[in-house]
Every structure is written in C-alpha cells, then in structure tokens.
C-alpha cells in the first residue's frame, strides 16, 4: 500500500506547478488553466484522506463532488470575464488589462 504522505506530496507537487502557472503565465486563459490544476490537486487530497481515514465516512468523496461543481462554476465565470475583457480591450494578456491601475 502506498503511504498516505506520498499522495499528499504528489498533490502538493501538482499544486505548486499550478501555482507557478498562475504566477508566471501572462495569458489570462492559461492562468485559469493553472487554477484548475490547483483545484484538482486539492481533490486528490480529499480522496486520499477518505481512503486512509474511515472508509465508511463518505464526506471526503462528497466534498470532492462539491469541489467539481464549484470548479465548473468558477471556470464558467472566469472565461466569461475573459471574453468580456477581450470585447472591450481586444487582448487577453494579463499585463495589458490595467483598467484598475491609477
């Protein structure tokens, strides 16, 4: 059996990669891709804790399903914002979206 900490370290690695994507990419769509990766790595943690804790308590899996729904809502709103910004500014580069800068 794989130790629990291996799953957690693997999830932390995916989370870090996703965070690097969010911090370093300049394409707004690519930033959203990084956020998806981070949400996904959190789900691995939930499933692993469910499996290594009490298997008869299903809360871990239920939370994972709720995270799925929240991720779907988040990506829909995020992409709508990207499209809306693209309409007014003709760009998806995060550096050039500076309407809130004074």
């Amino acid at each position: 059996m794989v130790p629990l900490s291996w799953y957690l370290i693997f999830a932390a690695a995916l989370f870090s990669i996703g965070m690097f994507g969010v911090l370093s990419r300049r394409n707004a769509v690519a930033i959203l891709l990084g956020i998806e990766l981070m949400l996904n790595s959190v789900n691995i943690n939930l499933a692993a804790f469910w499996r290594y804790g009490d298997v008869h308590l299903m809360a871990g899996q239920v939370f994972a399903i709720i995270v799925f729904a929240v991720a779907a809502a988040e990506v829909a709103v995020g992409l709508a914002l990207v499209i809306s910004v693209y309409r007014s500014r003709r760009t998806v580069v995060a550096d050039e979206i500076d309407m809130m800068k004074w």
Partner: protein
Amino acid sequence: MTPNLILFLILALVAVATALGMLFSKNAVYSALFLVLNFVTVAVFYLLLGAPFIAMAQITVYAGAIMVLFLFVIMLLGAERLPDTHVLPWQKPLATVLTVILALESTYLLWTKARPSGAVLPPGAEVNTVDNLRAMAMTLFNDYLLPFEVTSVLLLVAMVGVIVLVRREKGQKS
C-alpha cells in the same frame, strides 16, 4: 514493490510530466490538451484509491466539459499565441522562487508530519466499490442534501452571471 506502488509511481510521473508540459508549452491549445491528459491520469488515481464515482465524474466534468469550454474560448479569441513582450521582467524569477519555497516547505512538512497513527482500514485491504458507491449516494442525498442543493443554486447563479457578462447590449456591435 507491490503493483499498487508501481502504478502509483508511473501515474505520478505521467501526471507531473503532463502538468509541466501544460506549464511550458507556448501554445495555449497544447497547454489545454496536456491538462486533459493530466485530468485523466488523476482520474486513474481515484480508481487506485477505490473511488470510481469521482473518477468518472472527473473525466466527464473536468476532462470533458470544462476543458472543452477552455478550448472553445481559446479558439474563439485566437489566444493560442501571444506576442513575446515582457512587461514585468522580475515576474518569472519571483514566481520560480515562491513556487520552489512552497513546494519544498509542503513536501518537508508532509514528509515529517503526515503520518496517520493508525488507519481504520488495514492497509492493503480492498474497498468494496459497489457498497462504497451506495454508501456515498446515501450520504450525499441524506446528510449533505442542503450543501448539494446549495451547489445547484451556485451553478444556476454562475450560469445567470455568465449570460449577463457576455450578453451584448442592444445596438452594441462587437
């Protein structure tokens, strides 16, 4: 080396490799496709953990619906490639440093601290996936009925919000 351990190592390698591919491909379409592969690999992880329902939900919701939405938007906006101008020269080094700090710190803490004192299920025992699925459905629709309904309201709100955001005003030309 048990079969589970070998599977875990191969899957972890593939998942990290595809995540890095997502990070370093210049073309956003390739990024999205690498991420699809990553999501499918993570779905196999759920199967390895004995959670078939979230594995399938992962494939349909993440690898299917969400990534198709991403590809639609990337192609709609023509955002595959961006001009290579660096407005913030310190952005990438700073991001690298911060990410390495986070990765090392979390790996160290998880390696030293995350040791369960005693698993309820003896390690190595297989979970019965069908009973498991039934129990999960009972939990979801009994104990967690209110969060479930709130999630559906959240999806409805998101849908309305999206329609409001991208709707064109009358007489407005895009």
